[in-house]
Amino acid sequence: MNKYSDKIKSVLTDLGLSLLSIIVALIVGTLFIYLTDKSPLDAYSALYIGAFGSFRAIVNTLWRSTPLILTGLAVALPFRAGLFNIGAEGQLLMGGFTAGIVGFYFTSLPTIIHLPFAIIAGMFVAGLWGGLPGVLKAKLDVHEVIATIMLNYIAMALTINYGINLFKETGRPATPRIMKSAAMFNFNNMNKYPFLKDLPLSDLFSQPAIRLHLNFFLAVIAAVILWYLLFKTTLGYELRAVGFNPDGAEYGGIKASKSIITVMFISGAVAGLAGVGEVLGTHFSFMQGMDAGYGFTGIAVALIGQTHPIGVILGGLLFGALAQGGLEMQFSGIPSEIVMLIQALVIFFVAALQVFKVYLAKRKAKGGVE
């Protein structure tokens, strides 16, 4: 018997189940497309072509999945420690806003200092924003769902209502544009750099409307780091122990309060990086509406990725593809409501799948233990 075969099998079943829920969602979606007199086949082929049909489509799918991977991670990590982080939205806003301020305020820093500074500042502030509900939970037993929801509202008020207002004179609902030195590298500009322009794909990347930027790679790196943290480090061991069985963890001398605060700080910082990337890589200023509900979609991304960091990358790519392909679907005449509905169906069936899985596990456990 191969000791890894069971593990691989269980990962495959998980993946299979996720895939199944997507297929069911698409099938149910056809019913709604019929209502619009369009052919579902045309609609879905538009979806596919929009997301994967060309080099540009694929690259922009990656671009759209970037913030979703990050918010998905910000939900998945605390989930493993038994916490439900509804606050990725607020953490994203705080991170993005901070990066936006740092990005325009310092006018004469070289990129090598300015960009990392803006990224780290954004992640740090967002980390504090996530850590705060952690502290409230650990010290005062305030439920993290309540605390994070409240902090979402406060973050919106602080950044959008109050923060952007400070810069009314720009004439648009945004902070001033960031300095070039704080902008994230965009692949569209590859052929402007001496060394990179000789790379094989640089021509393809230089075609218009390519939006992929550095943050996608930061997101993938973040996922790998979190995977390592969760499954290879002592901290990760403790987090998972607390998540599975707080009483057992306490017996094992693990301080739940320390784990809770740490995990919430880290996930806040990761959600913050989503906002940082939108500001420094996509919009070049902190704008009203740039959060686009990423924090909440992140919950679905985390669930479809089975709260496993690598699964979350896949989940983020799926939702990125739905968003990118959804545009093409709209161009082909499907109302945007239907596009949103299909995305909602995917979320719905993924959630239903989780309930089903819990049921399965219960049924198994009923017989499995003594």
Binding site: T234, Y237, A241, D247, Y251, G253, G367, E370
Partner: protein, 514 residues
């Protein structure tokens, strides 16, 4: 075809395979109508699995089941219940905030209109409880009644659904000696009324007292079915284990050294903030085993949780090697070379979703060689796990399988392996052999005595009077949160302890604590 006419149940060639484990391997079990049949075997022998197959919880991979002469196909517990098969699980499946009556009728309630017909329900419950001598308080909430009463509720529940064949999975593991006697009276009256009983146990004394016939499983196979009157306890033990087993503890006289652990005037509250431990003072010496005897629920759990850093105390203090450790947390206490086998292995002792190698380092996971600079050293851990699994004979799946897939007794052995492997100088053992088979009890007892002879102090809590009596050097009797007496184990017996434990002052006064 069933093999004999008077068999109410005949399970033939049952096979059940889990990934990597053949839990049942062509098992045969035939039960006569109206008998009490004991199912015994080592931990992981496949007893629970076989009963889960019978109750429709598991689909067997092979074999046939005949019930009352007909072959049956059980797709779920509903099918089993319809046939008249009922099961009382070891972990009760009751709804805590509901009343006894509500729990019993749940799922098949008598109704008047849309409402629960309380009157009929209570009448039915009363009828059953009187008929079989199953005393329950119909209006009490589950969360407020004793474990013994909860079990009676489970029994009434199965009878209410018309059970003729009742399955009990280790029903006595969680009961006090008095409750066990009561349960056996219930068994007898069930039998008189024509019911058939299958029960699983690890206690051979119980097998001899109550059963008519015995079936022995070993490593998934049915070894033999014998008439109880034809065999001795030793015979059964040998059938189970495949070798001779020492049923009595063999130990030499203790050789106590200086004091290692001392409790002074300890007061602890329970979960409802009522006093549970009242002004207890105790001391344990190096090289001795101090047993705590008492009916469960008299403050033992709170006492142990307090001194292991898992529960806040109200007042008092405790010292280890003369060092005040009253305010130490669980981790700090562990680091003082204190080992702790907790009474509830599933709640405290294990992370059920972790695999064996993650569980076997719980509490030591941040120490070398398991962890270095904050990185887990899984290669070292795997090596370590392999050694311990072998040394402590933890069976049923390798180090990558989750603790929840182990049989109950093997879960216990996993904890024992972990706690004994860090040279403890003070060992706190709560119900160390609960749910463990005879062979492993022998092994665990020997381990405890070895630790003692190595000079460790041991504090032992057990609901099993014979265990306390045979292992301990001194015995402290706890009643309603107070230590009523401390006796030399060699100078007392079950009768005297029994009296002290229930609060009736014994005539004999043992030596006092100080």
């Amino acid at each position: 075809m069933p093999r004999e006419d008077n068999y109410i149940l005949d399970m033939q060639d049952i096979t059940k395979i889990f990934p990597g484990v053949k839990a049942n391997d062509n098992v045969n079990l035939s039960i006569k109508g109206g008998e009490i049949h004991a199912l015994v075997g080592e931990n992981g022998a496949g007893k629970t699995t076989l009963m889960n197959v019978l109750y429709g919880l598991y689909e067997p991979d092979g074999g046939q089941i005949f019930y009352e002469g007909n072959e049956v196909d059980l797709d779920g517990p509903e099918d089993a219940i319809k046939l008249g098969i009922g099961m009382v699980h070891q972990h009760f499946m009751l709804v805590e905030p509901l009343t006894v009556t509500e729990n019993i009728v749940l799922g098949s309630e008598p109704r008047s209109g849309l409402m629960l017909d309380q009157k009929t329900a209570q009448k039915d419950v009363k009828e059953i409880s009187e008929k079989y001598g199953l005393f329950v308080d119909p209006e009490a909430k589950i969360q407020d009644i004793s474990v013994g009463m909860q079990q009676r509720v489970e029994i009434i529940k199965t009878l209410y659904r018309g059970a003729e064949l009742l399955i009990f999975d280790e029903p006595t593991a969680v009961l006090t000696p008095q409750e066990i006697d009561e349960l056996f009276d219930i068994f007898k009256s069930l039998k008189e009324q024509g019911k058939t009983i299958i029960f699983i146990t690890h206690k051979l004394k119980e097998v001899k007292t109550i059963s008519d016939r015995i079936t022995v499983l070993r490593s998934g196979k049915s070894i033999d079915t014998v008439n109880t009157e034809d065999v001795t306890k030793e015979d059964v033990a040998e059938l189970m284990v495949g070798r001779q087993v020492l049923l009595e503890v063999e130990k030499t006289e203790a050789n106590p050294g200086e004091e290692i652990f001392k409790i002074e005037n300890l007061n602890v509250n329970d979960n409802r903030e009522l006093p549970a431990v009242k002004d207890i003072s105790l001391s344990v010496k190096k090289g001795e085993i101090l047993g705590i005897a008492g009916v469960e629920g008299n403050g033992q759990s709170e006492l142990i949780e307090a001194i292991t850093g898992l529960r806040k105390i109200k007042s008092g203090k405790f010292e280890l090697r003369g060092k005040d450790i009253t305010n130490f947390n669980a981790r700090e206490i562990k680091r003082e070379k204190v080992a702790h086998i907790p009474e509830d292995r599933q709640k405290r002792g294990l992370i059920m979703d972790f695999d064996l190698k993650e569980n076997i380092i719980l509490g030591y996971h941040d120490l070398e060689p398991f962890s270095r600079n904050g990185i887990m050293q899984y290669d070292n851990i795997a090596q370590y796990t392999e050694d311990l699994i072998e040394k402590y004979d933890v069976r049923g799946g390798g180090m990558e399988s989750q603790a929840k897939n182990l049989s109950g007794g093997n879960q216990q052995k996993l904890i024992v392996a972990r706690e004994f492997s860090h040279d403890p100088e003070f060992l706190i053992a709560s119900q160390p052999t609960r749910g463990v088979d005879v062979g492993s009890i022998e092994f665990i007892h020997n381990q405890i005595i070895d630790r003692r002879d190595d000079g460790a102090g041991v504090l032992l809590v057990s609901a099993e009077l014979s265990e306390v009596l045979s292992l301990s050097d001194r015995i402290a009797v706890i009643f309603e949160g107070e230590i009523v007496d401390v006796l030399k184990a060699s100078e007392t017996d079950e009768r005297e302890l029994g009296k002290l434990m229930t609060g009736s002052q014994a005539e004999a006064g043992g030596e006092s604590n100080e």
